[in-house]
């Protein structure tokens, strides 16, 4: 019980920190950072979109990893971590999928295009929708956990194929500006804002993750008590 209280306190602290950071990030991206020359004002959405994208891939990667180890070790905590990471990933993927088209409408002239990273994110979103549907539609929770882990792992294996296949159509997406062989090409204040965004989203994700993890642990504990009390 002490552990759950600690988890929840950590969740509260990190979430509050993340929300405060979010206000700071909005201030930075609206007022502090200089306007990009060619794209103009619409480029500012980049400071929300890109950190959301990074957090999404981190969350889904973590989910696939913990799912794989869960199938191996069968530790309930790993499955709980995978579930909470998948939920967080789905939230940030939704942010990425809503901010992207808003920017694309101005920059590319269209809300939607079958661009590789866009397509991949959409498909990942649906793969993780399947992840939750599988979990919730099995009578035996243990079976649901195994099925969901299989979906998460297959989804991760598919990413390179999806990426390669949609790359077949010419890419419209802006090229990477931070992680490149010759170092970041972004001007200083933009890089600062972007990295602030990444840190804020990461803290927010970890806060939400701990919250959910504490809740799932409580739920498992309640389940266990309900089962032992009836016997």
């Amino acid at each position: 019980m002490v552990r759950i209280a600690g988890l929840r306190r950590g969740g509260i602290v990190l979430t509050l920190l993340g929300l405060a950071g979010l206000i700071g990030l909005y201030w930075m991206s609206f007022f502090w950072v200089s306007t990009e020359l060619t794209q103009g004002i619409v480029q500012r959405i980049f400071y929300v979109h890109v950190p959301a994208a990074w957090t999404t891939f981190l969350a889904f990667g973590f989910c696939a990893l913990t799912s794989g180890v869960y199938l191996w070790l069968r530790d309930e905590r790993l499955d709980r971590a995978a579930l909470c990471a998948a939920e967080g990933g789905l939230v940030f993927a939704t942010i990425m999928l809503t901010t992207g088209p808003l920017w694309a409408r101005i920059a590319w002239g269209t809300y939607w295009t079958w661009e590789p990273r866009l397509t991949m994110t959409l498909l990942l979103w649906f793969i993780y929708l399947g992840y939750f549907m599988v979990r919730s539609s099995t009578e035996d929770p243990e079976r649901g956990k195994r099925f969901a882990a299989v979906v998460a792992i297959i989804g991760a294996i598919q990413i390179p194929f999806i990426h390669l296949s949609v790359l077949w159509f010419r890419s419209l997406h802006p090229q990477p500006v931070v992680v490149r062989p010759d170092g970041p090409s972004l001007p200083g204040d933009m890089l600062t804002t972007l990295l602030t965004g990444a840190a804020v989203f990461l803290v927010l994700f970890m806060g939400l993750f701990l919250f959910r993890y504490a809740l799932e642990t409580l739920r498992a504990e309640a389940d266990r008590r309900a089962r032992t009390s009836t016997i």
Partner: protein, 226 residues
């Protein structure tokens, strides 16, 4: 090693024998394919669209939807009379069970894919010419990748309360690479382009099928364990 292949062969033989006697999956998939081709033909306005230009995409859609009909019922026969328990308690390796069921499904779907190709050639007046062999290869690789994913997720969906309605939701997002390479290649081959132009795509289609088979063989044991 030889016992492994004997076990695998026994599963394939059992499934194909059952199918040969009942013919319910192959006949439903075959009838679906022909009727879908008829519907697709009437869904096109031939005064604005040349049927030949869109045939490749429709061939793949027919193959996928028809395939779901048959592959979704892969474990239907095992769900009765506790037959699945029997197979799982038998000394056969779990991955041999998976590969056996996948190969049996592949044999069915490959026959259906040839039927689909024939029906579309007839209804859409395609001129396959010298590319027939390559088209059969491409459809075969596509069918293999599809049944590998389909068989794994048929085992998943048949273990849920949603049953077969869950199958397309799980499989469709994963089929995008296969459709991109498969339909693209088929379209070019139907348009009488040389094979060298699509060779890279065919290799990726093969890699996709192999990756799906390997992933299924490894993960299947976690799906069926009790």
């Amino acid at each position: 090693m030889s016992t492994y292949f004997r076990q695998l062969g026994a599963i394939v033989a059992k499934d194909l024998l059952l199918e040969l006697r009942s013919r319910d999956r192959i006949s439903s998939m075959g009838a679906f394919a022909v009727l879908a081709a008829v519907l697709f033909h009437f869904s096109l306005d031939t005064s604005t669209t040349r049927p030949q230009d869109v045939a490749a995409g429709l061939i793949w859609m027919t193959l996928i939807f028809g395939g779901l009909l048959g592959v979704g019922r892969t474990f239907h026969i095992e769900s009765q009379d506790g037959a699945m328990q029997g197979i799982l308690t038998s000394p056969a390796h779990k991955d041999a069970v998976f590969l056996g069921k996948t190969l049996a499904n592949f044999a069915l779907l490959f026959v259906v894919s040839l039927l689909v190709l024939g029906v579309f050639t007839l209804f859409f007046r395609l001129e396959l010419g010298a590319n027939v062999g390559w088209l059969v290869l491409v459809l075969g690789l596509g069918s293999l990748g599809f049944v590998a994913l389909g068989t794994l997720f048929a085992a998943v969906s048949s273990g849920t309360s949603m049953g077969e309605t869950l199958l397309p939701i799980l499989v469709f997002p994963l089929l995008v690479p296969m459709v991109v390479y498969g339909a693209g290649t088929t379209g070019r081959l139907i348009a009488a382009r040389p094979f060298s132009e699509v060779e890279g795509n065919v290799k990726l289609l093969g890699a996709f099928a192999l990756a799906a088979l390997a992933a299924g063989a490894v993960l299947f044991r976690y799906v069926v364990e009790e």
